[in-house]
């Protein structure tokens, strides 16, 4: 029983990270209908920036804040310079650009910092956050930080005029323009926020998966699955979906272990948890194509 709770708790911590990346994907998707395949590599790059700052003697949290701000600006600039000219381009060209971005970030990071795996510090004090040994201090910290970030974003989008204008621009750009909203600026802002949230996820997960240019690959996949599971058109749903995928993967491994112990037959374990979790997600999507909490999108032809 205790082990089960432990697995769920650490699943929530992983899920928090998937939730952040899923939210970043959704923020760009709702306003452009594109999946930013480079989201993970952008987060990885932000994480290296913070690591570099820490190497230069900057404290963890100042480095964290600077990396988030730089990522925000970077996201805005990428939208303005690289994606804006592609507004009317066919989907495949945009996909190619995203994949190009992914490759560029990956190889630039590799060139500057090498592909060697690096340790990345955890900012959370061991003693203060130890929940009866159930779950590590870092994992508790991750959940707290992501919850703070997600709540701040919720308040921003739900209660501030700028957040309202961004939602309007995403939902109905033509009407938003007619209400005087500067839709292009809102798009750029959305990219900035997505990059910033991704950066938070990267810096939180780097202590767990270690820092290296390919560190976000699997995470992007999980986050994508979470976003689809919750509903790619619904930010709240995507966040929940991220958490669900995190818990799901741990439960798969846990019950695989239980079965092995009781019957001696090995069916699934840690190695297969990604596969099984994704299969479950696919099954859900077959039954509910728009995700658990997504709106059914009707395309007029």
């Amino acid at each position: 029983m205790e082990q089960l709770i432990q697995q769920v708790a650490s699943g929530l911590a992983n899920g928090a990270i998937y939730a952040c990346v899923a939210l970043a994907l959704v923020m760009i998707f709702v306003s452009t209908s594109h999946i930013n395949f480079a989201q993970g590599e952008m987060a990885m790059f932000s994480t290296y920036l913070s690591w570099q700052l820490i190497q230069w003697g900057v404290g963890y949290w100042p480095a964290f804040v600077i990396a988030v701000l730089v990522s925000f600006v970077g996201g805005v600039l990428i939208e303005r310079t690289i994606l804006r000219p592609l507004h009317t381009a066919p989907i495949l060209s945009v996909v190619v650009v995203f994949i190009g971005l992914l490759a560029v970030f990956n190889s630039v990071a590799g060139t500057i910092w090498s592909y060697l795996i690096k340790e990345y510090p955890s900012p959370f004090p061991k003693e203060a956050l130890d929940l009866a040994g159930l779950i590590g201090a870092h994992q508790v910290g991750v959940v707290i930080v992501t919850l703070v970030v997600l709540s701040a974003l919720y308040v921003f989008f739900r209660y501030t005029p700028l957040g309202l204008a961004m939602r309007a621009a995403a939902q109905n750009p033509v009407s938003a323009r007619l209400a005087g909203v500067r839709v292009d600026s809102m798009l750029a802002l959305g990219w900035g926020l997505a990059a910033a949230v991704g950066a938070v996820a990267g810096m939180m997960v780097a202590h767990i998966v270690y820092l290296e240019p390919n560190m976000m690959g699997g995470i992007l996949l999980y986050a994508f699955a979470g976003a689809l599971l919750g509903g790619i058109t619904n930010p709240g749903g995507a966040v929940l979906g991220g958490f669900m995928v995190g818990v799901l993967e741990n439960l798969v491994a846990f019950f695989g272990n239980v079965i092995e112990k009781q019957t001696g037959v090995y069916i699934i374990g840690n190695g297969e948890k990604l596969t099984v979790a994704l299969i479950i997600v696919i099954c859900v999507l077959t039954l509910k194509p728009s995700g658990l909490f997504g709106r059914v999108v009707v395309t007029r032809v």
Partner: protein, 239 residues
């Protein structure tokens, strides 16, 4: 002296297809002008061209400033509020949010100011007040049209472009909306450019009328004259 809104030699294009060939008209400050014409004549396109929602060539000046080529949102910020064909509701947002988007655009942070605008809107459309927390997509057609006009009002416009406000509505609701449009014109001093299929109603409300045919103005004059024109009577008024 130039008119408040002055359009001349206006051409407009959807990709390669030309929709307007030579449209010209003028609207006096405080006046109501209507554009009539059969389906596909180019009425909607003319309104879109004013807000730079289609590619356009020619001259459009608003309050003395040329506005061809200005981004839509910047034309809007000059005081031109467009109530589009199809109403342009933000369907998954509440009525309240639909109204506040426009208030944000005017750059007013003061809460009291927004409240004042909302009160003005409720005075014209009391029904919206009860529906503030309802999802806008679930409003009836008539209520959505009221919301669309209200959204435009929240911009405190000097000119309203109205694209078939009577579309799909029951006659009683249409009359209600037209009565309110007249009040808005008189009380809030908003000039109006009205596109309508319901020519009888439009000619009653407007002081000037222009008739479009395949992207050209074929007739113009004070509403009373246009109403008495035999061709207009046959084609648009049905008697």
């Amino acid at each position: 002296m130039t008119a408040f809104l002055e359009v001349s030699g206006l051409k407009a294009f959807y990709g390669q297809t030309q929709a307007l060939y030579d449209v010209g008209f003028a609207l006096e400050k405080g006046g109501i002008t209507t554009l009539l014409g059969a389906n596909g004549a180019g009425k909607t396109t003319t309104l879109r061209a004013i807000c730079n929602m289609v590619r356009a060539e020619g001259r459009i000046s608003f309050d003395g400033q040329p506005i061809v080529g200005r981004p839509t949102e910047s034309v809007v910020r000059l005081g031109v509020a467009h109530v589009p064909e199809g109403r342009g509701t933000f369907t998954t947002m509440t009525v309240d949010e639909n109204l506040r988007i426009a208030a944000y655009t005017r750059g007013r942070s003061a809460k009291a100011d927004v409240q004042q605008d909302l009160d003005m809107v409720f005075e014209y459309f009391p029904r919206l007040k009860e529906r503030m927390q309802q999802q806008a997509g679930t409003l009836s057609g008539g209520e959505q049209q009221m919301l669309a006009v209200s959204r435009a009002l929240m911009l405190r416009p000097r000119l309203m472009l109205l694209d078939e406000p009577s579309f799909g509505l029951a006659p009683l609701i249409v009359q209600e909306i037209f009565r309110i449009l007249r009040r808005i014109n008189e009380e809030s001093k908003v000039s109006m450019l009205l596109v309508e299929q319901n020519a009888a109603l439009a000619l009653d409300l407007a002081d000037h009328a222009y008739v479009l045919e395949t992207g050209r103005v074929v007739m113009a004059g004070p509403s009373a004259d246009v109403k008495n024109d035999e061709n207009v009577r046959k084609s648009y008024l049905g008697y």
